[in-house]
């Protein structure tokens, strides 16, 4: 059994209204040190298998196909065997 994490964020250059709104809210609460903020999605998966390379390539496929919207989102993943 392997554990995997997938982080999905909007691509650079795509406007992030959620991030912008949360950033403003933090600033209005006095957290002036926050320079920028992007909102994304985080997923935890449990995968059957031991071959890290193969799992990564399958997870990449899943991310491309379903988990992320490659038109507007980037993803990053971590697999722990």
């Amino acid at each position: 059994m392997a554990r995997a994490r997938v982080y999905i964020t909007l691509k650079e250059g795509i406007s992030d209204p959620q991030g912008k709104t949360v950033l403003r809210a933090l600033k209005s609460l006095g957290y002036d040190e926050v320079a920028d903020l992007r909102v994304g999605k985080y997923m935890e998966l449990e995968l059957d298998g031991e071959d890290k390379g193969k799992l990564e390539s399958r997870l990449g496929e899943m991310s491309e196909k379903l988990l992320a919207n490659p038109i507007i989102e980037d993803y990053r993943m971590e697999v722990e065997v």
């Binding site: 909007l10 250059g13 795509i14 406007s15 209204p17 709104t21 038109i71 507007i72």
Partner: protein, 731 residues
């Protein structure tokens, strides 16, 4: 720079004209500006010549085409602003965000005129629901419209929806918005006072949709579309909601001289169009535009189509108050332009002129006379005789098939995802012939309907377009409203193909004739060309958005049979007309024949009769006859009201025609017994054929000698089919 102008979508002769206008070669920034403004999307260069055929004037019309949206005087000191637009190609790439930003764009067109947006409508066309891709697109588009419109607090009150193979790769996502205002709040997108200041309000500018107009909207759609994906944008309805409130507050305080939204061609379009309309020039400091990304070049800044941005013109005296209101609403606002005498649009960066062109030359653009040639398919499809096909053995089963078919079944699954009640004006809920809104502060009502039967337009673009106008007029008339003006979104294929352009010319001529007949001028609209996938054009689809006015909103009429013992009456005559019908498609799998005939005298008389009878309080319900004919209309009246009817059809027409023909100029109404004589008088006076079919009541729809179906069993099929089809169930 030959490579560059071609890459930007300009033709050689267009490039030569630019050189002639400027008396020199344009620099890169100027070339970019011309390329977006002279794109089909912005310049209407292929359609302009044809669109002049449309009637655009009338006593109620305060503003016809040419501004951001048309304006109609509805009396009692109120004016309404409305427009229909397309967001087809962005939605085909990313359905949720494409549809969402489409709503954002049309809503900006409305409040930029000073009106508060109070209603949206969404006419949608997709491929067959059997395709998983269609289901993905459909689900995403509906969710996108819902997410944006609901957040703005603008009710989506009506729409229409068709599934046809012709839209498989190129769905049509049209969006309509209507706003209302006190007449005196009307403001134009004009920069007419030298010395006034241009202020950019709202979101920062990124590399969104750069060249979106020229690349996405003005070229055919093919495999390389995937590579154009960075043009897709993420909508921000929250910012737009704040812009609505801030702009309306500025207008109420009389602080603005002109207002324009940023849409296709972004800042280039907003600056040159406001300058051109106002007969002035403008100096723009590009370096002051707030940017979302580092390292953007002036050409990118000027062409960016970042959403949720507004362009306001104000006097220097009012500038501080304008900026104060923006700050109150949490909006960024940057003064960055000065209106000048003359005609030059000049861009500055760090004090240096980086572009200097006549504003009007950008805004007016070229105009083409395109060749038109009748496509070969027309004679072939029209020569088919659908009447010769065998009649179904079981008429009840045929009706059930139609009630469950994707183009007829209930759209509840769609409109329950839209907030259709916010703002407390929706006095007729979706599901009927037209959305009806009350007008707060007046006794009047507004009825809205969107219509276009693409099959009819495919079989005969001219007649099909006239039928679309007739049907949208009939839909609002069924609620008791008089149709007064319309907007349109003309969705066609590649106008450079003579056969496609022929469809367009025919359609515009049909539209012009219909508008003259019904006395409903065109107050604005949109042309969407290049709706093709892999070389196949969509059905010509001139979607009509009709505005109707009810003098007394209390006289509105719904479409459901909701009482027992009323007379059921068919207004209008039926002939055996199956060309392009839903019956022909669902039962025989064919799209052929001639569309039903349209007699404008009969149509106008019927609409007058409906309005007059509603005004006299004689109608308990009224429902237009369209797809699926009389049988489907009767079934819908029963299902929506939960009441049956016992009927007998008059005349000698064979059953399939009597039940399923799509003859025009017909409506089915229910009338309380004591008011039947009133309806008969009105119909006789207007020469409208009237047939008493029977009475409402009971738990089944019985048409003597033809069929009998339980209201419950019809409801089950009618109400649940769409949801099942979306889930991927096969019929």
């Amino acid at each position: 720079m030959p490579e560059l102008f071609e890459e930007l979508g300009l033709k050689r002769d267009e490039y030569d004209s630019i050189c002639e206008i400027l008396g020199r070669e344009p620099n890169k920034v100027e070339l970019g500006m011309y390329s977006v403004m002279w794109s089909e999307h912005c310049s209407y260069k292929s359609s302009k010549e044809q669109l002049r055929k449309l009637p655009t004037e009338g006593p109620r019309i305060l503003m016809g085409p040419g501004e951001n949206a048309g304006v109609v005087d509805i009396g009692d000191g109120f004016a309404v602003v409305f427009k229909l637009e397309s967001h087809n190609h962005p939605s085909a790439v990313e359905p949720f965000q494409g549809a969402a930003t489409g709503v954002g764009g049309i809503v900006r067109d409305i409040f930029t005129m000073g009106a508060r947006p109070i209603a949206s409508l969404d006419p949608l066309r997709f491929g067959s629901l059997e395709s998983p891709r269609t289901r993905y697109l459909f689900d995403g588009v509906v969710a996108g419209i819902a997410s944006y419109g609901n957040c703005l607090g603008i009710p989506t009150v009506a729409g229409d929806l068709y599934f046809e193979e012709a839209y498989e790769e190129n769905p049509l996502i049209n969006v309509m918005c209507l706003g209302i205002m006190p007449r005196e709040r009307l403001i134009l997108g004009r920069a007419s006072e030298p010395g006034s200041i241009g202020v950019l309000i709202g979101s920062s500018t990124g590399r969104d949709g750069i060249g979106g107009v020229s690349v996405l909207a003005s070229q055919e759609f093919d495999e390389t579309s995937a590579a154009k994906r960075p043009s897709v944008q993420v909508g921000d309805p929250f910012t737009e909601k704040l812009e609505i409130e801030a702009c309306l507050e500025m207008l109420d305080k009389g602080l603005l001289l002109g207002l324009q939204d940023l849409g296709g061609a972004g800042l280039t379009c907003a600056t040159c169009e406001t300058a051109e309309r106002g007969g002035c020039g403008m100096d723009v400091d590009v370096g002051k535009v707030p940017l979302r990304e580092p390292g953007m070049e002036p050409i990118e800044i000027m062409m960016s189509e970042s959403q949720e941005r507004m362009w306001a013109l104000t006097s220097p005296d009012n500038l501080d108050e304008v900026l104060g209101i923006c700050e109150k609403w949490g909006l960024d606002a940057t003064p960055l332009a000065t209106v000048t005498e003359g005609d030059r649009l000049r861009l500055f960066l760090d004090g240096v002129v980086i572009a200097d062109v006549p504003a009007s030359s950008l805004a007016q653009g070229p105009e083409y006379h395109r060749p038109a040639e009748k496509p070969a398919y027309i004679d072939k499809v029209q020569s088919a005789d659908p009447g010769a096909l065998p009649a179904p053995d079981d008429l009840g089963a045929a009706l059930m098939d139609l009630l469950g078919s994707p183009n007829i079944c209930s759209r509840r699954w769609v409109w329950e995802q839209y907030d259709h009640m916010v703002r407390l004006n929706t006095v007729l809920l979706p599901g009927g012939d037209a959305g009806v809104l009350r007008v707060m502060g007046s006794s009047k009502g507004i009825a809205l309907s969107c219509d276009c039967n693409g099959r009819f337009c495919y079989l005969d673009p001219n007649l099909g377009t006239q039928i679309a106008v007739a049907e949208s007029g009939r839909n609002v008339a069924c609620t008791g409203a008089t149709p007064v003006a319309l907007t349109n979104c003309l969705n066609f294929g590649n106008p450079e193909k003579p056969t496609i352009f022929w469809q367009f010319v025919q359609s515009v001529e049909g539209l012009a004739e219909a508008c003259r007949q019904l006395d409903t001028p065109v107050v604005g609209g949109n042309v969407s060309f290049y709706n093709e996938s892999f070389g196949e054009a969509i059905y010509p689809t001139p979607v009509i958005g009709m505005l109707g006015i009810l003098e007394d909103v209390r006289a509105r009429v719904g479409s459901a049979f909701s009482r027992e013992g009323d007379h059921v009456v068919l207004l209008g005559d039926t002939a055996a007309e199956f060309g392009g019908s839903e019956y022909l498609k669902v039962l025989h799998g064919k799209v052929e024949g001639k569309p039903p005939a349209l007699d404008w005298e009969a149509e106008k008389a019927l609409q007058k009769c409906l309005v007059r009878a509603a005004g006299a309080g004689a109608l308990a319900s009224a429902h237009d006859l369209s797809e699926g004919g009389l049988a489907v209309a009767l079934a819908e009246c029963c299902v929506q009201g939960g009441t049956g009817a016992h009927l007998e059809l008059p005349g000698t027409l064979p059953a399939p025609a009597a039940l399923f023909s799509e003859s025009q100029s017909r409506a089915v109404v229910s009338v309380p017994a004591q008011r039947l004589a009133d309806l008969e008088d009105i119909a006789a006076e207007l020469d409208v054929p009237l047939h008493i079919l029977g009475t409402t009541g009971g738990t089944s729809l019985e048409i003597k000698g033809m069929l009998e179906l339980g209201v419950d069993e019809m409801s089950e099929v009618y109400d649940t089919s769409l949801e099942k089809l979306i889930a991927g169930a096969t019929r």
